[in-house]
Amino acid sequence: MPQIVLGQLLNGAIVGTLYGILALGVTLTFSITGIVNFALGAFMMTGAYGTWYLTSVHGVPYGLAVPLATLGTAVIGLVADRALFRFTRNDLINGLLVSIGLIGVFDNVTLMIWTSTPHTIDVPVGGSVAVFGVYLPRMKLIVCAVLAAVVGATYFALRHTWAGRAAHSYAQAPEAAELMGVRTEFLQSSVFVYSTALAGLGGALYASLYSIDPTIGGPFVLKAIEGAILAGIGSVLGALIGGIILGVTESVGALFLPLSFGNAYGLVFLVLILLFRPNGLFAGRR
């Protein structure tokens, strides 16, 4: 039994990084633009379909398809920001309505083009690695490493670059940041587009692990929001850790309780955390 629990701790941590990358997008968007972008799940789905389309239909190598799909998702994010979300800045309700409307548009366009039939791509890196007798698929480890590196790089950029410090200062005091020369509109658009790129990257990597269909984004964005709240909105590393906590809770929970209630385990954990730390585990820490 200890070996199985260890296996699920590791598996949950790996799956959790996928929640974490989306949670990072949620937390960045909320901190800078004041909206909760539920459509990040749809952007994730776009990244996944882009990767599948490039690799399976056009034979593009997976290593090239991932950045292309991420870039494509970011371009769509830019269009969405300029056409829609720039009118919803710091307006939670309008942002919510626009993001929910956008989910419907993305889902239906995907249905029209590729139908709802699931697709799989051939695993670019096969085989598994034994860790203390637990076999972990190589591809899952690669996905985990890439996502953790991206979160780490984002954390580094936010702390050690001018743009990062500008984002921090804007999140704390928007008017003061503007008076100090921060181009707020550009900053908000950049963060929005970066968040959609993170979601696209998450989807591109997701496609190498699981079958994809137009509904994959919905459950993931809910987990990401759970992860972001669990960590405390605004915390970059906390978003990753929040995602990992959720992933581990689900994986280990499924060992002892029925899988049918898998989605509830994370929610129960979230409620317990919020009872003791209403602002999340890492609130106040950037």
């Binding site: 039994m1 296996g7 139908t115 799989t120 695993v123 076999y135 049918s260 898998g262």
Partner: protein, 391 residues
């Protein structure tokens, strides 16, 4: 002047062709299947087969019943596996398109969703589908419209019983079942729990919610008791994920499938030791020995202008190609295209020799099938069984 003559001749040809089509009456038939969506494996191939058969029949000039020629007109909305959509589509088929013969559904959740409305219209139409949950309704009062077009799993002549016997002969003591928590999944668990118990094989069961993608935890939980085989899901969409994750994590290498296709096993063949699959017909072998199968494969290729889908084609055994031809033959035998009771009686007494060798018993279809066993490395052995013959 020449232009006017050419135009006149052209108009004449159009008028003649219109005249021919108006002289022939049409029999509207409906199909209620999921052609897209996570559970579309069956509906997609069934729709392909139905379209091909309708095209063949119409291209041959239609068919004659009681001295009148008819053509078929197919209405085939896509349910996407959604019962609410299917209910609206069935209402449209019966009330607006005036369809009296409906092929499908294969999905139990779809049948459960339309069952009340279908029962209200008992006597007005026939529904020929493979849904697992139809089995319990067959022959009940108010269910005269229902014909189940697939072999049943349980009972002494059930294909499931035969497959579990095959497993037993391999010395299997324990099987782990991982099934979707929905109507079909629950019926399958109930049905197979009984079959395994009767044959002295221990069964452990876990259910998962539709939409689950990561099965690693539950697979690890099931693997802990060291079952000999994993019996997972019923649709290719989840089978791809489950089999890949089970083999990647070295948790299971032996699989037992009674729904879905061989394709998920073939995709992971390098890591699989054994995969036993209920296959209504193993086309790669059958097309070499059965002329009607060979003709069907060739017709498919010519009509759709693409390669034959060997992996999912066996699922065309339910409300598909043969069934359209059978329906036409039954109308001819009954001497009517509109008296559904007479057409049903003709169908039930029929022994049809098409791609499959089909007959009916208690409103349910019976046909011979193959058990495909994919061994380590991808080598395949096939056993043909016929529930109507002792085995």
């Amino acid at each position: 002047m020449k232009c006017i003559r050419v135009l006149a001749a052209g108009l004449g040809l159009v008028a003649m062709s219109l005249g021919v089509s108006y002289a022939q009456e049409t029999v509207p038939i409906g199909e209620l299947e999921a052609q897209t969506g996570p559970l579309a494996t069956y509906g997609w191939i069934n729709h392909q087969g139905v379209r091909l058969a309708v095209e063949q029949i119409n291209k041959a000039g239609g068919f004659e019943v009681a001295g009148k020629r008819y053509r078929l007109q197919l209405f085939a909305p896509d349910t996407r596996g959604n019962p609410q959509e299917a209910l609206i589509e069935l209402k449209q088929l019966l009330e607006q398109d005036h369809v009296q013969y409906v092929f499908g559904p294969f999905l139990s959740n779809v049948y459960d969703g339309v069952e009340a409305y279908a029962t209200q219209n008992n006597g007005k139409f026939l529904m020929m589908g493979g849904a697992t949950s139809m089995h319990a309704q067959l022959g009940k009062p108010g269910k005269d419209y229902l014909i189940r077009t697939w072999n049943w799993d349980g009972g002494p002549t059930g294909f499931g019983s035969a497959m579990v016997s095959y497993l037993k002969r391999k010395g299997v003591k324990r099987v782990a079942m991982l099934m979707q928590n929905d109507a079909a999944g629950k019926v399958l668990v109930d049905t197979y729990a009984k079959i395994f118990r009767e044959q002295g094989i221990q069964l452990q069961v876990e259910m998962f919610e539709p939409g689950t993608k990561d099965f690693t935890a539950v697979l690890a939980k099931l693997a802990e008791k060291k079952p000999d085989y994993l019996f997972p899901g019923y649709a290719d969409a989840v089978l791809y994920d489950i089999i890949r994750q089970a083999t990647d994590s070295h948790l299971f290498t032996r699989f037992f499938l009674v729904r879905g296709s061989l394709a998920p096993c073939i995709k992971n063949k390098a890591a699989i030791n054994d995969c036993i699959v209920y296959t209504p017909k193993y086309f790669k072998q059958a097309e070499k020995t059965e002329p009607k199968v060979k003709a069907f494969v060739a017709a498919y290729r010519a009509f759709y202008k693409r390669d034959f889908p060997y992996d999912v084609a066996p699922l065309c055994s339910s409300a598909c190609y043969d069934h359209v031809h059978m329906l036409v033959a039954a109308m001819q035998k009954a001497g009517t295209v509109s008296d559904v009771a007479k057409v049903k009686a003709a169908l039930m007494s029929m022994h049809y020799h098409g791609v499959w060798d089909i007959s009916f018993h208690d409103n349910e279809e019976v046909f011979g099938f193959d058990v495909v066993d994919m061994h380590k490395g991808g080598a395949i052995s096939v056993i043909h069984l016929d529930p109507r013959k002792p085995h």
